[in-house]
Amino acid sequence: MAEIRLKNLTKRWGDFIGVDDQSLDIHDEEFLVLLGPSGCGKTTTMRMIAGLEDPTAGEIWIGDRMVNDDLPKDRDVAMVFQNYGLYPHMTIYDNIAYPLKVRGTPKADIKPRVERAAEQVELTEFLHRKPKALSGGQRQRVALARAIVRTPKVFLMDEPLSNLDAKLRVTMRAELKHLSRALQITTVYVTHDQIEAMTLADRVAVMRHGIIQQLGTPDDIYNDPANMFVAGFIGSPAMNLINGSVQSGMFITTGGTKLVGIGGPDRESAILGVRADDMSVHDAGEGDIDVTIYAFENTGESTLLTVQWGKQRVIARGDRHLRKEQDDVVGIKLNPDHLYLFDPESGDRIRMGGA
């Protein structure tokens, strides 16, 4: 059980900056997700915590110990790798037992602990097999069992679900969540999948270009994004970003349509962010604006309307029973409580209502 503190952590390869002077406190027993697109520095951050990568500058603390100079084996962490990193020449039993064996655990202790770990991930009947004979999901469980067979200070998980098919991923996600609540061990979890982040995390750190853009609970990140990048990265479909300006408290699109009252001082250019779910679909003339349908998609649980909005296209979500055709005209109403305004230059959030 331990907290992790990163102090001004930097990783550089020549001119390329992987992680740029980041500090982060991860609480004891917290499940923290590092979320971001590929190349954002999330995996590098985790590998530095594991000791597989040396930081260029900064400090890494696990508990009350500065671990910068410790080898991976001395950091008391367990890690689940993207490709699982199973030992192909060992049986599942030996794979799970390896962390214990190599640390000199007495033989008598190893067996019950391996069996308990295997039981927790429902692998008991496969212990004598080799990794090759297992399915992707089963291999994933072996990697998990190998991590939980000891009680490490920290769990590190590097995109552990990304190699599974979509259906299995949902199942494993729930199992992972169940397991982590049961074990109560500090966990750092790297992913590019925002749904994994939202569902698993106590807190999420959204990263981009080696910099943490926002750190907060899934609720914070979804409902109160710090900037345009976070707003656009979280949520599916992605938040609509509409170019325009603010004049006398109204948001005017680039095409000149008066859209919605948002208050605040005038701005020559601004970007309005609105999620598909925060727009309601009405008959023509009954919304804030009339638009033409570019494409109508029925996903089963709801409908998605891509509408032509001047020169831009915007996605709105409609009721599952809604039926429209391409080129139909509909009215769109925006939910005034869930509108976000961003500075087009910096991407920073412009807080509304403050003025």
Partner: protein
């Protein structure tokens, strides 16, 4: 009545070309291809088969161009007798190839691991130099060794031969094993390190077992190279340390080549290499091109 004979089948030009399109044309080309393949295989094998047959011919029949003869095992006995004494050459070849491989593989494995997993200063330079040494003509390398061995009394010894054979084998071994280790996922090693292994434990518990098939393959490949090596042995040996390929020269008697014995000796040289080469055939190309083709 003559006009009632079967009407001649006249093919219009369009029909004629129709005849050659589609499945029929495809089938025609397929048979041509099959014939060419069999022919090529035949050309590739004929000299080997011919030598194989000649090794069972008597010294009379071998001088006749005949396919049918009374096979005899006599040649395989004669080559091991005086003055040919092929057994001694066989012994030399075996020792030299074995010891060369026994030295080369562990040394190459250590280096290959380091090249594969770490960034070293001058790494590319060192690798290119190693690659290049394989292409240096043997006649260039041999001259200083010839002088040095003459001064040290190492001419015509197996030890001397083993030393120079390392020059041939090392670059192949390093590059080949590096290729195999490159193929072992980093994940696995990193998992072992996080699980509590030191670097040396990782090598012992994870890398060596996983690379074992590759190491066997590289050993066999290097064994074949050392076994077939000719020029070094020609320069450096004359009686005691003569290897099999040089031993072939023994059968060039005053009365000309003793083809039946030469053939038997040839079979003794190639047969074990055929077996070894077939065992590692999947990796032969990879080894020979040193990673340029995979």
């Amino acid at each position: 009545m003559t006009d009632q004979t079967t009407p001649e089948i006249e093919l219009s030009e369009a029909q004629a070309s129709e005849f050659w399109t589609g499945k029929r044309k495809q089938r025609f080309w397929r048979s041509i291809q099959a014939i060419l393949i069999v022919l090529a295989a035949f050309v590739m094998l004929v000299p080997i088969i011919w030598i194989f047959l000649a090794s069972f011919k008597s010294h009379v029949e071998v001088y006749q161009l005949r396919l049918f003869f009374t096979p005899t095992l006599e040649n395989y006995g004669t080559v091991f007798e005086e003055p040919y004494n092929l057994g001694a050459k066989l012994y030399n070849s075996t020792i030299v190839a074995f010891v060369t491989v026994a030295f080369a593989i562990p040394i190459a494995t250590m280096a290959a691991y380091s090249f594969s997993r770490f960034r070293l200063k001058f790494e590319t330079t060192i690798l290119v130099v190693i690659l290049a040494t394989q292409f240096v003509p043997a006649v260039v390398i041999i001259l200083p060794f010839f002088i040095m061995f003459r001064d040290l009394g190492l001419l015509d010894t197996r030890i001397g031969l083993i030393m120079v054979n390392l020059a041939i084998v090392m670059p192949f071994a390093i590059w080949m094993i590096k290729g195999f280790i490159d193929g072992i996922p980093m994940d696995t090693e990193e998992a072992a390190m996080v699980d509590g292994s030191s670097r040396l434990q990782v090598i012992k518990n994870i890398v060596l077992p996983m690379a074992a098939p590759g190491l066997v393959t590289a050993s066999i490949f290097c064994f074949i190279l050392a076994w077939n090596e000719f020029l070094f042995a020609l320069f450096l040996t004359n009686r005691d340390a003569v290897t099999l390929p040089i031993g072939l020269a023994l059968f060039r008697g005053e009365e000309g080549d003793l083809w039946n014995l030469l053939s038997a000796a040839g079979i003794i040289i190639m047969a074990p290499m055929f077996v070894l080469a077939l065992a590692i055939r999947k990796y032969f190309v990879q080894g020979m091109t040193m990673g340029a083709v995979r």
